[in-house]
Amino acid sequence: MSCRKRLRSLSLVLATLPLWLAALPAHAMSLESLADHLAAQGDVAGRFEQTRYLADLDTQIDGRGRYRFEQGNRVTWSLESPVEETMELSEAGIRRNGERLDDDPAGVATLIMQLLNGQLSTLADRFEVTLEGNQQAWHATLVPRQQGLAEYLDSIDMRGDNRLEQINMAMADGDRLNIHLLPPEEDPGTADTSSRQAP
């Protein structure tokens, strides 16, 4: 109920944005077919890189790790640097470093699972979604509908081709959080080039 929870839900949802795409509401053009197209990729695993830009300090914090998405079942988001932390989402709830998070939780996990199962109404109610481009180069913008969430979050941008590549989150206070999902087969060593284009 509190904005804190909305924010927490948001960051967890964010961590699993790759899953969302398979279920984005078919508001605009070929979103539905795009969702089908992305879902057809099946289980996906790879590396990610992320950058948190802090506007008031004009500085940034970088991180990287691995993601794994088992279609319809489980999401694992493992941060490796600057510190090791694993978040795991499944039907059973959320686990952080193997320990169950009792707090808000089951709600978000269920939300994710609903999204995966194509129950789109929930997401459409929370965000205004616009989609541009085509299946080979698309760009989705999500703007929160709820006033409470909008006070903290301006928008979420997502782009990709036949997979999700980039998620940019713009906070109301000017902070940004950018996540780059590297292709599953790509060598982790090339990560540096992509992180530089982030903020």
Binding site: M1, S2, R4, R6, L7, S11, Q50, T59, D62, Q146
Partner: protein, 773 residues
């Protein structure tokens, strides 16, 4: 003679007309018809702090209600329910969607003070010196924030988020459009509402009940659980209303039928009912004038008591029907007068109790009896009666029954039986003063209430510690010092839980030591956090600066914020000059061990008071029960002495029906293991009144068939009225009914058994010179 009696009769008519006019005006102007059970209870005389605390703690339960809803399509169903409630104009605010809850300005209220707010676990971790985990968690949330305002300078360790975690262990779920709660694997929508009016307003209760019924009619698959005073009040009022109409109507029809069989004359029956109407008008007017209103239970209990009033009319009319022209009122007057005095005495002792409800009932019943009696004596002799052979035949048949029973219980056997009964009742009879007695809520509603309170941690504020101090700081410190005891009671399972302001706003000294701990944590780990995150070390100084400028969180600030609003009920503020107070509510089951420890704590510290309103009320009920028993026993002794002046050695025959019936009831309850409660005793007063009437009339007119006919009719009509009460679902009325049922049957039997054995030729069908023979 007619001339002499007409003037008082005319005066009485004027009094009654005035009463009727007064009552009509009062009722039309909306004199309050009270349905609150608690209005029957005495105002406890206690410190103003306790009174205010009681009001404040129960306010949310009174002004708000909670509905839990389970439906196959929760979105649609809860929308429909909300619409129905809003259309019925019963709620001023309704919350069931996440957006309905005011956006809490957490960051603004708690943000600046967050370095001073540490939960018990975090304090222990910092004290242990092993803070590496805190560093790792800080790093993880700096790169991927999972909470509010996790910023490298403002809050690198997520203190605000940790504080909120330790505060809000809520199970609410806002996954979708609705606020839901998981109960036994089912997802229930949580709807909270603020009433648009008073919970005791019967109009509002009806609209709410109708709205919920409409919704359930339209959504048969949906299930609702209700919590809130308004539902209990509606339940009580509804039941009382419907029982008053069934019991009143049943009693009236039964009495009419019997009278029709006996007198076979509608005019005579009308003259029998006239005193009841007159008594009712008189009693209502006096009660409205005295109390500025009337309680529904007073009408229920009181209108049944006026059934005793029919006694006088029955005695008079039976005598006139059987005697015809030979009837003389003069001969009846001593019996009638004694009957009135004894009955009124039996009821009026209740007026000496400090229970406003009982006082009201006593006044109502007393006035009803006097009014009915005056009507009988002043008006009835002016009417004509028809002598019918049927009535005479019936009176003779009844007399035959009496003849077979009389003389079978002599003084010696009666004394032995009385002693046996007294010893059985004295040894085995238990008392029951629990609050269940005055509960009028249905089992269904009580079940709903229990579930909602358990799942939502909602309490009605009935058990709490009242804590006083010279100032707010002293209060918070004192409340904090109680935490270890309360925690250990909770961990050992003696206490379900507690809510305390110190958990929301730590005392200043605790906030200071917390700030020291935060500084220690920064000194130990912040450099490394910055280094690992690749942040400039220069930020360290800025982070420390935020610590130095952190203001303490004050109680006033917290209570004034949207999130602290629900804690306002725990704070009294200034209760006396130089003294503030607040409460710690205890909930979820408090066993004897916890009660004992808290009570001894309260005894040893004059600034702490343990208040248990349920126990308080039980104690009052018990005290009243003992008081009434003493008053009635005293009254009985006084009456016996009074009656002995007139009846000498025959006095035992006057007392035996009433006394014997009371002992029969007590012995039966003792043997059956039914604990005696206040309402049993009230019913015994009724048995006493009717029993004394019977004893007196049989001694006044020992050979008169009309006396025995009148006694029998009176007991049968009262049995009809109270036999129905025994089937009441309202515990109070049930106890009264059961007791009267047994008691009145005993009165009739005993009246017959203790009469003197007479030679058959000395009996007459009506009053004449043989009276007192």
């Amino acid at each position: 003679m007619m001339r002499a009696t007409r003037l008082p009769a005319l005066l009485w008519l004027m009094v009654l007309t005035a009463c009727l006019a007064f009552s009509s005006v009062q009722l039309l102007r909306g004199a309050s018809l009270d349905t609150r059970i608690t209005a029957l209870l005495p105002e406890t005389h206690q410190s103003p702090g306790v009174d205010r605390a009681n009001d404040q703690l129960s306010a949310p339960f009174t002004h708000r209600f909670v509905l839990l809803l389970e439906a196959e399509q929760p979105n649609e169903a809860s929308g429909a329910l909300a619409q129905t409630l809003e259309d019925a104009d019963v709620v001023s605010e309704l919350r069931y969607r996440p957006g309905d809850y005011q956006l809490d300005n957490l960051l603004e209220v708690l943000g600046p003070s967050r370095y001073r707010l540490l939960g018990e676990n975090l304090r222990a971790t910092i004290d242990s010196g092993d803070t590496d985990d805190l560093r790792r968690q800080a790093l993880a949330s700096l790169i991927m924030p999972t909470g509010l305002d996790q910023h490298p300078v403002r809050d690198p360790f997520g203190l605000l988020d940790r504080w909120l975690d330790s505060q809000l262990s809520t199970r609410f779920d806002t996954r979708g459009d609705l606020v839901t709660l998981e109960v036994d694997g089912r997802s229930l929508v949580v709807m909270t509402a603020t009433l648009s009016g008073n919970a005791w307003d019967t109009g509002l209760q009806d609209r709410l009940t109708d709205a919920i019924n409409d919704f359930q009619g339209a959504h048969p698959d949906a299930q609702l659980w209700r919590s809130g005073m308004v539902f209990h009040a509606a339940d009580g009022a509804h039941q009382a209303k419907s029982e008053i109409s069934t019991i009143g109507l049943g009693s009236l029809i039964g009495v009419l039928l019997i009278l029709l069989v006996v007198f076979r004359s509608p005019v005579t029956i009308a003259t029998l009912l006239l005193p009841l109407v007159a008594g009712g008008v008189f009693a209502l007017a006096i009660t409205l004038w005295w109390f500025q209103g009337i309680h529904l239970l007073t009408i229920a209990f009181g209108s049944s008591l006026i059934g005793v009033a029919i006694d006088y009319a029955l005695h008079l009319q039976c005598a006139r029907t059987l005697a015809g022209r030979e009837f003389r009122l003069r001969r009846m007057l001593p019996g009638l007068a004694l009957g009135l005095v004894t009955s009124v005495m039996a009821y009026v002792v209740q007026a000496f109790t400090p229970m406003p409800g009982l006082r009201q009932m006593a006044i109502f019943a007393g006035c009803g009896l006097v009014g009915a009696w005056l009507t009988v004596v002043l008006w009835l002799p002016l009417t004509r009666v028809h002598t019918t052979p049927g009535t005479r035949a019936l009176a003779e048949r009844l007399w035959g029954v009496l003849d077979r029973l009389r003389g079978r219980l002599g003084p010696r056997l009666a004394l032995v039986l009385a002693l046996v009964a007294i010893s059985i009742a004295g040894v085995r009879l238990q008392g029951d003063d629990s609050l269940r007695l005055i509960n009028t809520s249905s089992q269904q509603l009580l079940g709903d209430e229990a579930l909602v309170q358990r799942e939502l941690g909602r309490d009605t504020g009935t058990v709490y510690l009242l804590v006083m101090a010279h100032d707010t700081e002293g209060f918070l410190g004192r409340v904090e010092s109680l935490n270890p005891l309360l925690e250990s009671l909770m961990q050992e399972g003696h206490l379900g839980g507690y809510t305390s302001l110190a958990e929301r706003v730590p005392s200043r000294s605790r906030q200071s030591t917390n700030l020291e701990r935060t500084r220690t944590l920064y000194q130990q780990q912040l450099d490394q956090v910055y280094a690992s995150a690749g942040l400039p070390p220069a930020l360290y100084e800025r982070a420390l600066e935020a610590l130095e400028q952190s203001p303490p969180l004050t109680l006033d600030h917290w209570l004034a914020s949207p999130l602290g609003e629900s804690d306002q009920r725990l704070w009294l503020g200034e209760i006396d000059r130089g003294q503030v107070g607040g409460m710690i509510t205890l909930n979820g089951g408090i066993d004897d061990r916890a009660r004992q420890q808290l009570a001894s704590l309260a005894r040893s510290d004059e600034n702490i008071e343990l208040v248990d309103r349920v126990e308080q009320i039980s104690a009052v009920l018990g005290e009243l029960r003992r008081q009434i028993a003493q008053w009635v026993a005293g009254a009985l002794v006084a009456l016996t002495l009074l009656l002995a002046l007139r009846y000498r050695w025959r006095t035992w025959r006057v007392i035996a029906p009433a006394g014997g019936a009371i002992l029969t009831v007590l012995t039966l309850y003792a043997l059956l293991g039914v604990p005696l409660n206040l309402f049993h005793q009230l019913a015994l007063l009724l048995v006493l009144g009717i029993g004394l009437d019977a004893g007196i009339f049989m001694q006044e007119h020992p050979r008169a068939h009309h006396a025995w006919l009148a006694i029998t009719l009176s007991i049968i009509s009262s049995l009809l009225a109270f036999g129905l009460l025994a089937f009441s679902a309202t515990p109070v009325l049930h106890h009264i009914g059961m007791t009267t049922l047994i008691g009145l049957a005993s009165v009739w039997l005993l009246t017959a058994l203790v009469q003197h054995r007479l030679p058959p030729d000395q009996t007459t069908p009506h009053d004449n010179a043989h009276d007192h023979g």
